[in-house]
């Protein structure tokens, strides 16, 4: 949903509403698979790059759901960044989330992030811009245009300088919110995401 709100279909520059969804090997990547499926339902044309597939049965089912919905899976990510800029309107970064530690140093993530650092089309990062330290943020890492914080913003979100910051955490029960002093903003109507003001 946040991808759709940030980039409504009619506003996309390319004729086809193409979106590249780059999925890492763990939970963040699995969330990317679910996101890709919903983008498809919303009439976008997602393509997935999922080089290191999780053996988790739940995540394998997510993969099957995407395949059966005719969402193509790339066999490699072009290192020629212009190819990505030309083919897609935006990239969803679902490579590494808050759980990643040395993940960004290992292949294939390191190569992916090196490429993504140079794309000119907008990047939508899920939870944590991949490669950023979850608390300190990053210098010289990827610069997403949109950040979707899951449950609640992480510390590194303070360093986010992109256009739009959404929180997707409406499923959190009140006592969990209170216990962790999350103080989430009000979600409008029945929306599952709320836009926070992007810090400047």
């Amino acid at each position: 949903v946040p991808s759709r709100q940030a980039f409504p279909l009619p506003s996309l520059p390319r004729k086809q509403p193409t979106v590249l969804v780059v999925c890492g090997p763990a939970q963040n990547g699995a969330i990317g698979l679910v996101c890709a499926r919903h983008l498809r339902i919303f009439d976008y044309e997602p393509t997935i790059f999922y080089p290191k597939r999780s053996p988790d049965p739940l995540y394998r089912d997510f993969t099957t759901q995407c395949e059966k919905m005719d969402i193509p899976f790339l066999s490699y990510l072009p290192t020629e960044v212009q190819l990505i800029n030309d083919a897609y309107n935006a990239v969803v970064d679902a490579v590494l989330g808050a759980e990643a530690e040395a993940g960004e140093g290992r292949e294939p993530c390191a190569a992916i992030l090196a490429t993504l650092k140079h794309v000119r089309i907008p990047i939508v990062s899920l939870d944590v811009p991949s490669g950023w330290d979850v608390e300190a943020g990053s210098s010289g890492g990827i610069s997403p245009d949109v950040l979707v914080s899951l449950s609640a913003p992480k510390q590194c979100a303070r360093r986010f300088l992109g256009r739009q910051h959404f929180v997707a955490g409406r499923f959190l029960p009140y006592d969990v919110q209170k216990k962790f002093e999350l103080n989430p903003p009000e979600y409008p109507g029945t929306e599952c995401v709320v836009a926070l003001r992007a810090p400047r």
């Binding site: 949903v1 759709r4 709100q5 409504p8 498809r40 339902i41 919303f42 739940l58 394998r60 089912d61 099957t64 759901q65 059966k68 919905m69 005719d70 409406r170 499923f171 029960p173 009140y174 006592d175 109507g189 029945t190």
Partner: protein, 256 residues
């Protein structure tokens, strides 16, 4: 008591569907077709029951919020959610949880609970969110009218066949006499899934999941919503569902 009805919407009698071009109405699956679609989602597409139930329950809560916003209730936005013994009941539990998130005060009556982790988990989620589970069903229709502004009927769904077993027979009898609106999930409970039931429950709202079933032709309430926005295009084509397009990223579509 009860919700104030928006003045612009009136009952137009039995629902008429308009397909995308206005001349190809959605095809209304029969019971076996509806079951076949579900089966294909689970076995071919590898969706889990949890996934689809969550999306279905969220659709129901969203549709209810659109038709009966909390501000439309005369006092507290209290909703009674009556959950049956199967998947329709599970949809109701998910719906109750989202209604709570949306600012309603749901209470659940769930007399026959399956011994399965899915339903136990959904029950725990509701309980941990302080949604009360009633120890008994309100004895009289008048009491329901007094305490609640809306009843969600999550008793029986599209797999329902044959006779209604207790305690649901008595429950349906009581519900047939309440004056506050009823929102039925997928099939008005007690109706034949294809033919309806002339002297049965008359809900004000129907939320058809995946696609409207044949019984929906007999629905005479004010609000008919489509929910369950997860059917892949290929499956829609295979069963010639001809579903009209959902608006933007909404998970529900108002049909009438």
């Amino acid at each position: 008591r009860g919700s104030e009805l928006p003045l612009t919407l009136q009952s137009r009698g039995p629902a008429r569907f308009r397909g995308p071009q206005g001349c190809h109405p959605p095809s209304l699956p029969r019971q076996e077709e509806a079951q076949a679609i579900d089966q294909e989602l689970f076995t071919e597409y590898k969706f889990s029951v949890d996934q689809l139930m969550e999306l279905a329950g969220l659709s129901c809560a969203t549709a209810i919020a659109k038709a009966y916003p909390p501000s439309s209730f005369t006092s507290q936005p209290a909703v009674l959610v009556v959950c049956g013994p199967g998947n329709n009941g599970g949809d109701g539990l998910v719906c109750a949880r989202h209604l709570k998130m949306f600012g309603y005060e749901p209470a659940v009556y769930y007399p026959k609970r399956p011994n399965k982790p899915l339903f136990e988990g959904l029950t725990t989620q509701c309980q941990k969110m302080d949604i009360p589970f009633l120890p008994e069903f309100p004895a009289e229709a008048a009491l329901i009218d007094e305490l609640y502004g809306l009843v969600v009927d999550a008793i029986f769904g599209f797999s329902f066949k044959g006779a209604v077993r207790e305690p649901f027979g008595s429950i349906l009898n009581t519900l047939e006499h309440i004056t506050v609106p009823i929102a039925s999930i997928d099939i008005p409970s007690g109706w034949d899934v294809e033919k309806g039931k002339v002297d049965g429950l008359q809900p004000d709202m129907l939320i058809s999941l995946t696609a409207p079933k044949k019984a929906a032709m007999h629905f005479a309430g004010r609000y008919h919503f489509l929910g369950g926005r997860f059917v892949p295009a290929a499956l829609q084509k295979k069963y010639a569902l001809n579903l009209p397009p959902y608006p933007e990223t909404d998970c529900v579509l108002q049909l009438t």
